[in-house]
């Protein structure tokens, strides 16, 4: 029986499709550029005038125009979305909060990581093994994931997160350390309660009680 060898398929580095389908993806422009840089032969065979003419021949002109118009719209939208996301990433900051549990014991709470596509569970696990403490992922009052690490390791955690962000090419993201003393928290609670009675029963912004 003759051996059938696997066919090598070249995938686009931007949208992960085989390059011939890039035109239907949401990042066509970047795909095209990427392909030109990375695989010139294939680029020529797909985007030469001849090939393009062939591709459009079986559909009526109007239909073709309509489809490409819609696609363009979508692609523009996608690009705008990417841009927005990047902006959001740059604008957001990571907060490392040190919370006093009793006089000598602290936990730190890391929030604001969710926009960076970081696997929280995995990161918690790494923290746990790195600092030899307990670390877990919980939802905070705003229904966002955050990591709680036991023990005062905020400096080390900060360094680690900064390194992590640097690897992703996001140097400008701020990592802020905060301190949350018990006394402060009580004061904040009291203030909230006072505000509540003053405004007449409008629920206060959710408090972090941990």
């Amino acid at each position: 029986m003759s051996e059938i060898l696997p066919k090598e398929v070249f995938y686009c580095g931007v949208c992960t499709f085989p390059p011939e389908y890039c035109e239907f993806g949401l990042s066509f422009k970047r795909c095209k550029q990427w392909l030109q840089e990375n695989n010139e032969a294939l680029f020529d065979s797909i985007y030469s005038d001849e090939a393009l003419a062939n591709a459009t021949s079986t559909l009526s002109v109007e239909k073709q125009a309509k489809i490409s118009k819609e696609l363009e719209k979508k692609q523009a939208k996608e690009e705008a979305k990417l841009e927005r996301e990047l902006q959001m990433k740059l604008a957001s900051k990571v907060i490392i909060k040190r919370i006093e549990r009793n006089k000598r014991k602290h936990v730190i709470e890391i929030s604001g990581l969710e926009v960076f596509n970081i696997d929280m569970k995995k990161l918690a696990k790494t923290f746990a093994s790195k600092f030899a403490t307990g670390a877990s992922v919980t939802k905070n009052a705003e229904k966002k994931d955050e990591i709680v690490v036991q023990g005062d390791v905020s400096d080390e955690a900060k360094a680690y997160i900064e390194k992590l962000l640097e690897e992703k090419g996001l140097n400008e993201v701020q990592v802020v350390q905060e301190d949350d003393k018990k006394g402060k928290k009580k004061a904040a609670l009291a203030a909230a309660a006072a505000a509540l009675s003053a405004t007449g029963g409008v629920p206060p912004p959710a408090q972090k009680t941990r």
Partner: protein, 179 residues
């Protein structure tokens, strides 16, 4: 099936026994008979397959960190990466160019898209419920995998309604799943 599919749909991962793996291979071959000469390349004898159980009774089998096939109820279905490597081993249908856009957003394929000028159906009849790989006019590689809701003879003669139910396509949750 995988239109909305993320890591959160994964429930558990476990290594499978080699005897189970052997059974899996024979079953896979019995579904796609042309696979016989290459099955040892797709699932090597000594490899360790990992069973990933997901939402909605979907089970993925992955080898070397790459999902090779998945199981929904009793049917074993290859992933597109495997189809791209061994394109001749699976029954194929072809859609016209106008349908590509919709297929890539996960739509089921209607009969006219399979019978028009740019489309191709196999000469011989494929029965209902066959899993087919979907190709496109002017394109070399498969873009989706679907399940026939009508036999191909019916598709040709009736030429209405949904012909292929889409299961897995380029850019869906399974395609984008990285471990």
């Amino acid at each position: 099936m995988f239109k909305k599919f993320t890591k959160e749909d994964v429930h558990s991962r476990s290594n499978i026994k080699s005897s189970v793996q052997r059974g899996l291979k024979t079953k896979f071959v019995s579904q796609f008979e042309k696979l016989e000469p290459v099955i040892d390349d797709i699932i090597p004898k000594k490899s360790q397959a990992i069973l990933i159980k997901c939402e909605d009774r979907i089970q993925l089998y992955s080898i070397d960190e790459e999902v090779v096939l998945f199981q929904h109820f009793d049917d074993l279905i290859p992933t597109l990466k495997v189809v791209h490597k061994y394109p001749d081993c699976f029954p194929r249908v072809q859609v016209d160019r106008g349908a590509i856009k919709f297929v890539l957003s996960g739509a089921n394929i209607m009969c006219p898209g399979l019978t028009s000028a740019g489309a191709k159906l196999p000469e011989e009849n494929l029965p209902v419920d066959t899993y087919v790989t979907v190709y496109a006019e002017g394109k070399e590689n498969a873009l989706a995998i679907g399940k026939l809701l009508m036999s191909t003879d019916d598709i040709k003669s009736i030429n209405k309604n949904i012909g292929v139910e889409l299961v897995h396509y380029l850019g869906d949750g399974l395609w984008n799943l990285t471990e």
